[in-house]
Symmetry: C2
Subunit: 321 residues, 2 copies
């Protein structure tokens, strides 16, 4: 088991008890048709069949539960949309005031759903890194809890509960493909898989158009980028967090980059062979197989379908084109 | 609790133990956006995130498990596609030879998936009733087990395990809307709901273009029809089974018919508000709300999303039109 990390199995198991069961024990099943198309055996861990339609509900439940238990009343976060939606849902459940800072260019349906859940939404010009700065400044000014995705270990612990379900699931697997953004899911799931199924390969996948964390992993130091260019809005950060990179270095066996064309092809395959409409980030694992089929040939692969908050018009444009 | 039926809570609980966990404890969650659009509170029980993409895996597991335990080697069934796919999957798992008889006009993807799972597929000219006759004749000729959907109580018991999960779920509900075809799901789920949550209303929904069972329920006698005309292929029978009608009379509070336009509108709402691609039968519950919104206004409703085996081109034609 990797040691010296921020992550800990006991804490992850405790985190699980804070999460509304609605987000737990999500479907894990073999998709034979998709596996045949990809030349491997493919299992899907589906994180979209819940009220916020992404895996972020798990971490948000941990954050909001602990904050409310400690007497907290309010929180603010920056989000590309999914964390904001999840914290809005969990905050409401725990009686917390939630403020979400997002880019004006964020996916419209994500912003609509954040508002629909009753959170205060503040839009900024610029990307997620600008939103992070604004959220920090709001937290300081108002004296409320700043929730930082991946830096706050509760967000990683929440995501890590997916790993508990994968490791306890059946059938077993040779490799897990995990979308890599700020790193909460990749480090959390990767940690649990390495701890409980050390023989399984942990492979993180990021868009070529938003490669900061992947480059950082390969260079073993924080590498930032000036801009991102990807439809996978959920993973499009530029400033990797050092503590998260340290965890990722300890748990990931590889980090790979995929093209936009592969992401779209992955979304299309998930539609055609699994009947699933997913957001681009959720297709990163399939994209990785498409780009390197020999690496995965005839192996048992599992990938996390991490979100389905996608603008339908954009989806249609991408997938049907 | 209704009595004098073929169904029994103890047997249903025992049936649950025969079912691969992959088909059990499916997602049950509130869809706020869809509820707002419909003017009620709506929870979804999602039966599509499994290897056969419909609820039929539950009953097929019970049938195949019991048959294999008893030394059976082969079975034949008639199917519009979902039962055949499910029996092909469960039969393979239990080492049974499976023959599926289907209409040549059945949904192509359903037929492809039955073949893909290794079952023998026999096509007939005519509809499901013609397929039922042919399946019976094959069973007689080969001396193998004939599986008859809804008549074989194991198919109802398998479906009834959905009811156990609904009744044990949270939050509670005022009414459950269930697609009505031959009746396995409606009687099975209806029975358990009436037994465990007697205050909840059990409402069955059928297309106006395939109304035989609904008419039979209202007239309290078997009413057959000469033809069906609906896109909801999974529920398009013409010859209700007397024993199943008896059960339905005991457990259903109402049976309603919906138009094709409402079914399509329901599919579209499930896409737009829940991100779900479903087959027409799975939208019957939403269609019922659309046709009678006052009846459901401000009530807690749950509906079973029973399948997603749909031809994407047809889906596109229906929903985007």
């Amino acid at each position: 088991m990797p040691s010296g990390l921020r992550l800990d199995l006991g804490r992850i198991r405790a985190a699980r008890r804070l999460i509304d069961p609605m987000f737990l024990d999500t479907p894990l099943y073999r998709c034979e048709s998709l596996g045949r198309a990809l030349g491997c055996t493919l299992d899907i861990k589906l994180e979209t069949a819940n009220p916020v339609r992404s895996f972020k509900g798990r971490g948000a439940e941990v954050v909001a539960g602990l904050l409310a238990d400690g007497g907290g009343r309010a929180l603010v976060c920056a989000s590309a949309g999914n964390l904001g939606q999840a914290l809005a849902w969990s905050g409401r459940r725990h009686g917390l005031d939630v403020t979400v800072v997002a880019s004006r260019a964020a996916t419209p349906v994500k912003l609509d759903r954040i508002r629909g859940l009753g959170a205060e939404l503040e839009l900024v010009d610029g990307d997620i890194e600008v939103a992070r700065e604004r959220a920090a400044s709001i937290a300081g000014r108002r004296g409320i809890r700043l929730v930082e995705d991946s830096l706050d270990v509760e967000t990683c612990e929440g995501a890590a509960t997916i790993g508990l379900e994968l490791a306890g699931g059946r059938p077993s697997f040779d490799a897990v493909l995990i979308a890599l953004g700020a790193g909460a899911m990749a480090t959390g799931v990767g940690y649990v898989v390495k701890a409980l199924l050390p023989g399984a390969e942990v492979i993180c996948v990021q868009p070529r158009g938003a490669p900061a964390m992947t480059r950082s992993w390969h260079e073993r130091r924080v590498v930032t980028t000036d801009a991102t260019d990807t439809i996978a809005d959920g993973v499009a950060g530029r400033h990797p967090i050092p503590a998260v990179l340290d965890d990722l270095l300890a748990v990931a066996d590889d980090a790979v980059l995929v093209s936009e064309a592969s992401i779209v092809a992955g979304m299309r395959l998930l539609l055609e062979h699994a009947g699933l409409i997913v957001e681009p980030s959720a297709a990163l694992g399939i994209a990785a197989i498409l780009q390197d089929p020999e690496r995965f040939a005839d192996r048992n692969i599992v990938t996390v379908i991490c979100g389905s908050n996608v603008d339908l018009d954009a989806y249609h444009r991408w997938v049907r084109a």
